[in-house]
């Protein structure tokens, strides 16, 4: 017989219960009440709605068609006012409905701190779509917002409001942000990232009162500091919404008390989600709620199951900052820490160890290995054997370094991949075996990565491992067949292990060949000289011939010689010297290059030092037309001659070229400076392009005009030449430090995102540090290689000249 199921509350937990019931073919006639004027949606995704990345429509989990298809009677925007347990009915403004089984899923209510002014218009909480819409509306007028509460919700609200143009201050009672999930160091990094976005953070700030007469005007702190506010968001915490249950006489502690089948003290009434208390515990994360939903659905379908809370890790994305924590990370006697920091990238990892077992982990910035650490905590793995390298994650364990895929391949079937939905690797494998061959299909069939999405990469890796060659994932490729490591892995090793020579890298990274190959050696040589400019000595034998001989090899084994012409400017004397050299060394072809200089093609190897010597004597140096380094800075004539020029583009180009020449970069680096937006120097298809305007200089990056043709993206606009110099040096240095060898700036930008590069450049401290590192490296490398080789010409000369007679 069809039973009547009444559900109070359409949240993430009850939505999941209904799905399981209908999927299981349960025979229920469902009536669904919701106080909000809408059905089930993904509450975790309210933050992207607030920031404008998503709309409400994007986050709906069950739409009107779904309710209709499953015959659910919906009463949205309807508060249930009473439960009559004797009559087995619920009452709302729409009348009385009878039930056989009742499900309470009322969720939680925001905690309001009881201060004066808490009810003023303009004070809102952050819990549902209405709150979100209220914030979006308030932010349209701009002005100042104060967010009370530096936990996840408060910070999401702060970031969203800042994104929408408000001037935001976060007040947090404790000493550092998110103190329940993060330790102090990670809290500091998070704070710094938020401050970079213009959000003010005040810790140890206790709210005394909210001020205002008709509407909110400010916040007063305990220490009598006053803050102006046009909007106050209260996000200090939540408590289970239990009023209906209490009124109905059910047993309620902090939450509605339930047993292991989620039944309340009334056998026909169940409760699920944030409103319940089980075994003294409350539940706020989505993963245990989904577990409850599964157990409850099975209970309703007479398939007894038991809900057991699992140990949880928290992997969160707070406003674009990745963080992860698991276990207990308080310091204590007998506890030891292993800490890894990469301040430049804002990466922090800390493991807390007790008796050779990891008991807690906190990660900030790079959380890719979080699941692996969580597994070590949960399984109480003895880590004494891998203690030296455990902090670097699974890629560095077990002797031979391995790629991330083999780490995923090694996971057992019951390893949890999607924490939100509790999906294990085995379930994903089964779905793949049943035909799911891409991430979309897996999401719809298993729900893996369908909630918060942070495990998407991991799910893709399971796909890649399971499908093998059939799956085309842009996976991390090893550098070459000499190693399993990717470029990124090796760079990380070079920095973290302070590897300062080629043999050190080969040893530490377990190279399979004795001295690499023509693919990896130039890359390693570059990484080493870029990361350790003072310690590492450049190895010419690890360079392609062009960079070893400072000239471009041609198809017949001769070379081309290109002297530098700063900013494309030359003189009659220089031109005469070039003409003389061309005559003297019988240069067959003299050509004007695209970079505004002159190419002498067809010079024999053994003449190179002599022709360079002649050019040196005329005041010219190597143009590095052969290098993965600064090539040219192309300019127009700017204000010197042009009717339209707005700034001295030629002078700036020369200044840039003189500062940057000789530097080595992951791939060639071409610049241009145009004196006005007519852009005669074609700056917007260069790696770094500068377009002068009346008010200053627009600096844009990531252009290309080769195999790919790309227009640059605007990095920033600055008012002075001095700032142009700093920004260009800083972005070049960041590219030098972070890009993969042989990636032009545009490829690097596609990987790290323009936004990340902008953050590096706009933070004046980071910018200054980058400039300083660039200048330091240039003290070593800004030298004319031609002059150096003229002094030691031996490598260009034959080792011996043997005649037939000599042999006889």
């Amino acid at each position: 017989m069809t039973q009547k199921l009444v559900v109070i509350g359409a949240g993430m937990a009850s939505g999941r219960v209904l799905e399981h019931l209908f999927d299981g073919g349960a025979d229920f006639d469902v009536t669904l009440f919701n106080a909000e004027e809408r059905g089930n949606y993904n509450r975790i995704m309210l933050s992207p709605v607030l920031s404008g990345e998503k709309t409400y429509e994007d986050i709906v989990t069950h739409d009107a068609d779904w309710y209709e298809a499953n015959n659910v009677t919906c009463h949205f925007g309807t508060h249930v006012t009473a439960i009559d347990r004797q009559a087995k009915t619920v009452t709302s403004a729409k009348g009385t409905v009878a039930y056989d089984k009742l499900l309470i899923a009322t969720g939680s209510a925001p905690f309001i701190i009881p201060v004066q002014g808490k009810d003023l218009p303009g004070v809102i909480t952050y819990r549902d779509l209405d709150d979100t819409n209220a914030m979006i509306k308030a932010s349209k007028a701009g002005g100042k917002a104060v967010v009370i509460g530096g936990g996840l919700l408060g910070l999401e609200a702060a970031a969203g409001l800042a994104e929408r143009g408000m001037d935001v201050t976060v007040l947090h009672l404790m000493g550092h942000l998110m103190e329940r999930q993060l330790d102090e160091a990670a809290g500091f990094l998070l704070r710094r990232d938020l401050e970079k976005r213009g959000i003010t953070v005040k810790c140890r700030a206790s709210t005394a009162a909210i001020l205002g007469t008709d509407k909110v005007e400010g916040v007063l702190l305990e220490d009598n500091e006053g803050l102006e506010a046009d909007l106050v968001v209260m996000a200090v915490g939540i408590r289970p919404e239990t009023r209906l249950a209490t009124d109905a006489g059910l047993e309620v502690a902090r939450g509605i008390e339930v047993g292991a089948q989620l039944q309340t003290s009334d056998p026909d009434i169940f409760a699920v989600g944030e409103c319940v208390e089980f075994d003294g515990q409350l539940f706020g994360l989505v993963a245990p709620l989904y577990d409850q939903a599964m157990v409850l659905a099975n209970t309703l379908m007479d398939k007894p199951e038991v809900f057991t809370p699992k140990k949880l890790s928290t992997k969160l994305k707070v406003t674009g900052c990745d963080l992860f924590s698991a276990g207990d990370f308080a310091a204590g006697e007998g506890r030891e820490d292993i800490v890894f920091r990469d301040p430049a990238r804002g990466v922090y990892r800390r493991l807390v160890i007790e008796d050779d077992v990891i008991v807690g982990a906190v990660m900030y910035g790079d959380t890719a290995d979080g699941n692996w650490f969580f597994g070590l905590i949960r399984d109480k793995t003895d880590i004494s054997e891998m203690r030296d390298t455990v902090i670097f994650g699974p890629a560095y364990q077990g002797g031979a370094p391995s790629d991330p895929l083999s780490a995923v391949a090694a996971l057992p079937r019951d390893a949890e991949i999607c924490g939100c939905n509790g999906i294990c690797k085995g379930e994903i494998e089964d779905a793949i075996a049943a035909g799911a061959s891409d991430i979309g299909a897996l999401r719809s069939q298993t729900k893996a990565s369908a909630s918060c999405g942070t495990c998407t990469g991991l799910v893709e890796q399971v796909l890649a491992v399971t499908l093998g060659d059939d799956f085309v994932l842009p996976t991390a490729q090893p550098i070459c067949s000499c190693t399993e490591m990717t470029h990124e892995d090796v760079r990380r090793m070079i920095k973290s292990q302070e590897l300062k020579s080629l043999p050190a890298v080969w040893q530490a990274c377990d190279w399979k060949t004795p001295c690499g190959c023509h693919v990896c050696r130039p890359a390693l040589n570059y990484y080493l000289l870029s990361d350790w400019p003072l310690d590492y000595e450049d190895d010419p034998q690890s360079r392609f011939v062009n960079e070893r001989k400072h000239a471009n090899i041609q198809k017949d084994g001769t070379f081309s010689v290109v002297p530098r012409m700063w900013g494309g400017i030359t003189t009659p004397d220089e031109l005469r010297a070039i003409a003389d050299a061309a005559d003297k060394f019988s240069v067959p072809t003299v050509k004007i290059t695209g970079g505004q200089r002159i190419d002498l093609l067809g010079v024999k190897n053994e003449y190179l030092p002599a022709i360079w010597d002649d050019l040196n004597k005329a005041g010219m140096v190597s143009g590095h037309a052969y290098s993965k380094g600064l090539r040219t800075v192309k300019t127009c004539v700017g204000t010197d001659h042009c009717r339209f020029g707005t700034q001295d583009s030629t002078g700036l180009g020369i200044q840039l070229e003189k500062a940057l020449w000789g530097s080595w970069t992951p791939h060639k680096l071409k610049l241009a400076v145009s004196g006005c937006p007519r852009n005669c120097a074609e700056a917007t298809c260069k790696d770094i392009g500068i377009v002068c305007v009346d008010s200053g200089y627009q600096i844009s990056i990531g252009g290309a005009a080769g195999m790919d043709v790309r227009e640059t993206s605007l990095l920033c606009q600055v008012p002075t030449k001095e700032e142009v110099m700093d920004v260009v040096k800083a972005v070049t240095q960041s590219y030098r430090e972070n890009a993969k060898y042989l990636d032009r700036i545009y490829k690097w930008m596609d990987k790290v995102g323009l936004e990340w590069i902008q953050e590096q450049i706009t933070d004046l401290d980071i910018r200054a540090a980058l400039v300083e590192r660039f200048d330091l490296s240039q003290t070593i490398y800004r030298k004319d290689p031609w002059a150096q080789h003229v002094a030691k010409p031996a490598p260009y000369e034959p080792l011996a000249t043997l005649t037939l007679e000599a042999a006889e």
């Binding site: 001295c515 023509h518 034998q541 392609f544 017949d556 084994g557 031996a794 000249t801 043997l802």
Partner: protein, 110 residues
């Protein structure tokens, strides 16, 4: 019997590098590996005559600078491609590079 002639000091050729010897019949490249072994090969890749002495030396192989063919120094064979470079006897003794003089004569007749 071999007729070894002294060419140059070993240190005149960089480790993982090469230098050229000019003969009347073209250039011979002398390679020195990281392990201080020396090899002498024609300085012309079987693919498009690329100057092998300008390539990157790794293990006992050199990669041609023009199109990245990899040539085994011991045999002169191109790896994974059809093609072979002539090789000549070479050795190191007392810090000096020695080549077999007879190879010049062979080249002369060839």
């Amino acid at each position: 019997m071999s007729n070894w002639i002294d060419i140059a000091a070993l240190d005149a050729v960089p480790q993982r590098g090469a230098r050229l010897i000019k003969t009347l019949h073209g250039c011979v490249a002398v390679f020195r590996t990281a392990g201080n072994e020396v090899f002498a090969l024609d300085n012309a890749c079987p693919h498009k005559n690329g100057p092998l002495a300008d390539g990157i030396v790794h293990g006992k192989a050199v990669t041609c600078p023009l199109h990245n063919w990899v040539i085994a120094l011991e045999t002169g064979e191109a790896q994974g491609e059809e093609g072979k470079v002539a090789t000549y006897p070479a050795k190191v003794a007392k810090g000096r590079i020695l080549l077999d003089a007879d190879f010049l004569q062979q080249r002369a007749v060839a």
